[in-house]
Subunit: 724 residues, 2 copies
Amino acid sequence: MENLRKGRFTLPGEAGIDEEVKRLIDKWGADAIRNSDGTKLPKELMDLAIKVYATYLTVRNDQKWAYSHKDQLQMQYLMSKHNIATSDTLEIDIMDGYFKRQFEIDENHDVKRYWEVYDRTTGEVVDINEWSFDSKTKKVIIENVKKWHRYTVSFLVYQVWDTTQMYNHLTNNWTTPPEMPYDIIHEETREHIFNYLEDWLKENSSVDVVRFTTFFYHFTIAYNNMEKEKFVDWFGYSASVSPEAMDEFERVKGYKLRAENFVDEGYFNSPFRVPSKEYLDWIEFMQQFVSKNAKKCVDLCHKYGKEAMMFLGDNWIGTEPYGEYFGSIGLDSVVGSVGSGATLRLISDIPHVKYTEGRFLPYFFPDTFHEGGNPTKEAVENWVQARRAILRSPIDRMGYGGYLSLAIKFPEFVDKVQEITDEFREMHCNIAGTKAYTPKFKVAVLNAWGKLRSWQTNMVAHALWYKKIYSYVGVIECLSGMSVDVAFISFDDIKKNGIPEDIGVIINAGDAETAWSGHHYWIDEEVTGKIREWVYNGGGFIGVGEPTAYQYQGRYFQLSDVLGVDRERSFTLSYTRHDKVYEKPHFILEDQKKDMDFGEGMKYVYSTGDNTKILSMDKGDINLAVNEFGKGRAVYISGLPYTPENVRLLLRSIYWCSHKEEDMFTWFTSNSNTECAAYLETGNVAVINNSDELQKTELYKDRNSSIKLSLKPYEIKWVKADSF
Amino acid sequence: MENLRKGRFTLPGEAGIDEEVKRLIDKWGADAIRNSDGTKLPKELMDLAIKVYATYLTVRNDQKWAYSHKDQLQMQYLMSKHNIATSDTLEIDIMDGYFKRQFEIDENHDVKRYWEVYDRTTGEVVDINEWSFDSKTKKVIIENVKKWHRYTVSFLVYQVWDTTQMYNHLTNNWTTPPEMPYDIIHEETREHIFNYLEDWLKENSSVDVVRFTTFFYHFTIAYNNMEKEKFVDWFGYSASVSPEAMDEFERVKGYKLRAENFVDEGYFNSPFRVPSKEYLDWIEFMQQFVSKNAKKCVDLCHKYGKEAMMFLGDNWIGTEPYGEYFGSIGLDSVVGSVGSGATLRLISDIPHVKYTEGRFLPYFFPDTFHEGGNPTKEAVENWVQARRAILRSPIDRMGYGGYLSLAIKFPEFVDKVQEITDEFREMHCNIAGTKAYTPKFKVAVLNAWGKLRSWQTNMVAHALWYKKIYSYVGVIECLSGMSVDVAFISFDDIKKNGIPEDIGVIINAGDAETAWSGHHYWIDEEVTGKIREWVYNGGGFIGVGEPTAYQYQGRYFQLSDVLGVDRERSFTLSYTRHDKVYEKPHFILEDQKKDMDFGEGMKYVYSTGDNTKILSMDKGDINLAVNEFGKGRAVYISGLPYTPENVRLLLRSIYWCSHKEEDMFTWFTSNSNTECAAYLETGNVAVINNSDELQKTELYKDRNSSIKLSLKPYEIKWVKADSF
């Protein structure tokens, strides 16, 4: 039986305020305490809670090793700026624009083997005999260049400052000496990492959970010469590379990689790029290598009776939880930061672990916890946005991060966290490990990445807002708390296995040419053929933004016949448009009360079919349209930021697309600001108010039976399923 | 000496209101009268004015010929709808969606030679043995299709209804029998056209000017099955085609054309498409053929002592006035419709003719001339927008079109036209055939068409407003009345001849992948190399919208190094942006007083250079930026609709780009709503008020001498150049 006042909560520890810590352990019902990066807990506190988490920094805990093995530090591929040749010789200051305290040029390996000089005007590699590196000036000199062409140099550097520590240094004015990450690719370092961990495990008997932050390779970060962020790719493998790993790759995969396979025209294989074969091979190679060695770390933890927990972030490259090799690591748990419903699901859906934990916002940092700050508001909004996702797929535990000493200055906040933690435990009590009702069909999110990037589609960096993406991220954010089962599938999945039986609706959302939309996959006759056939026979297809886009053979949206719309690229301006909004009511619009919000939307979309029904148009451009294709149906939406109305728009689109309009009313609430989750095995139904106002709503068991409810701002109400 | 009360004006004639016509000839100072398509003038009226124009419809004046030679009617390539194959056989109703009274399927020529069936999924032509045309059902049946692929049929039709007459029928409810255009490609018809013209010339001795409307081939129009416009391309050659012409082309050019060369994926070689070699060859072939035969018509007119005038529109295909062969026709004059400053220049800049004439708006048609209509306002706005262009390059004559009987019901309008015509004659009096002051350098508009499409860049159909283009058309509209000389150059010009000595600034304006922006020319190292070198050595470059765009080798704007900006296509979202607006004053902003208007603008533009100065940004996206590249300068503008402020923005950009800021004040007015034109040979300076409000302005002779002026709404004021 669930303890409603204690458990499932991890407190960030802090030294020097022991009494306050004890009070909060009690108030928030903590059953675990953890030290953070930079915090050492006194023994007394570590003994207080049931479990003690200790952060473990696998590749930088022993800085003596780092400083004495500088040839075994981690490396990274960088690309110089684009340089225009204005005379026959071009000198390129390769580090120009980079932060020189972060990187040191690698002069230990053969530059002619691992570096590349590119003529970016022609896309050709410059012959290695035409350039040289001057170790004194740190410049690459290219002879016989083609005048007025632009050139770049791709080169290797050592990471001489760990990116997370560097970030903390520069952001929080830390003054500790720079830490450097060593590279497990080297056998000597590898052995040392395991030995050092084993020693540490022996010495830290009071630690119950080793919280790896994380394993071996950090996501990609490069700072600029102004000590500001230049490049951050939360998914990037650029910092997992080294000549030794490339050589090993060649041995395993049977072919050689080039600098360009990592540098990728300067895009560094951003997740928005349709991944190349070489990059996918590298990901697999690195996942196998990382998983194998991470497993050794986990095994050591188990040997010493401790749990192994992984932080989802920082040095997480190679351990992607939805990858093929994650299960083999044998982790007990994963903890990650919760910035939204989608990032909650990113954590809570992780397979192969005993439990998951979410770290909620706000961090107890001075950016929020200062005079005039409103941490309570931020906490409530973060909680409420995550809560609807928790109802679909609960994380097992929650916690916060940062400095307790800051939080306790805000008593209202401290009280609010108590409410939240109690509510969280109550949810687990009522859910009791069962699953909320969902219809029989699944909704598939289709892109070039598929399962590997579950709940990460169209994301730049973990829940961060970008103008270019929020109208797409809204799709997974809406889905994260929706009563449907969601699958993430790739074009290659469809090519290999067709469309799985249990899929009812496919969603393709993203900008043209990105991995999320699909780019060249849409001129693959197998992909378009299988999807057309499937829709024609009754499937549902929802396109957002520039779905199925590839300019080819008279069409931009290659499935414009399915979607009923295409996008004007100026080539069909000579065609007279006769688009008019469909004036009758439509099922998918029934919950729309005010102006619809399509976010950034997508200009210049027009109808291509005689039967396209335009449901919303702005200055001649279609924002929302529905179409029928054979027995199937399709919906086009120009953009779908996360709003309560858009959750409904997507929900209704899904049910309409799959011809199951009536079924939508099985466990449904009438008011868009409210949602419900029915746990039929336990007989409990949760009804939530996602808004900061009182809401009246009708809870439907099915089309014919409902009850009326009133919910206070942000309230969760539990109703018995048999009370209808 | 110019007669200020009479001359330079052509009245549209109308039968049955002779007294009113006489009054208007006097009031508006008409020295010519013309009959319109559908109007026959009584002899008395034709004798009244000095000159009589008669409309001559070269390819449809003799409908007896048309009806008795239906195998010699004009033809057109059409493309069927896209059809998805849902079984092994696909039947395509090729005329589905077309207007069957406009077109008749050509069954006289070998369909297997001239038609094409396309698999648009793969881009492959279907083998001619795999399909057949069923003459009974008018369907194409394709066997062994690939299921779920989309197919189109490209086929030839006869034009059984002249498009202009059809338009008038359907728009103005005409009831005359359908007229059909015959094709001069047939020798028999060709001889008949000349003979018929000669007979007509003999019979119409009172006609002074034969106004050809026009020669032989109409621009492309197709109507849909609802009798509405489906496709209109004012520049399109699709209706100039026939098997006979294709065969002749093969003889002349040495290679065979295919249906796809005309159908072009269904885009029908829209001017927004970068023209293919085949299409350019066809244009040249057709221009030679049309010019040769048009010359014969003109020679006949001259033989009978008449002038030959061409209407710029309708059947104008092959006679483009900026083409290589136009001069050889030997026309006396061209008349065209004035919808804006740019369309005025399109007429007034035409070389090789004795005079040009503009037909002003509004047409005396019921759409404007009805109770509650305001034709006066429309006339004034049309006049004022054209006037600034007239000051740069005057048309020689003006006129109106439509029904006089409608105009005379609006006495205020009749008075206003008197004012306008008097003002027009006064302008000619003061200009006296001289040219207004311009600086020494020229401004070049660079695109894939160059000179051939002078003053037509980014236009869909003669001055019509489209959401997708007005932010680009604004560029030429601004230029049309600006005190700079403008050249239109193509990428091929630059490849062949480099950048002409007299060019000071190059403008590249348009959407990515269009002929106006340039598409694949921007990955042509010769093009980028020559332009980079030229800017580096001091040239000015102005990019509007998506200039130099082609996604290649890490850049979208291939000259982002010159422009200092690029556009985010999602691949560089991982790069942290640090863009900030440049806070100091800047020369090009000095006339901007309120919010700037970038029209549709261009989202997601960011700076790429360290030295880019961002002058305007909206929600993180750059609308206006300047950059230096070597000794040269560049300006990026996200969109430039035509407004008085944007005229100034462009003018200042031009002077800034060319390092001639101080020179801008030579003949300059301080107030953006006013402009001036200085005719130094005559000593007269025109100052115009383009606004409907009183404006105070300062007229600069140069940086150091100016006089203050006050101008009534829309006033033109003439000042002596030596009064400073």
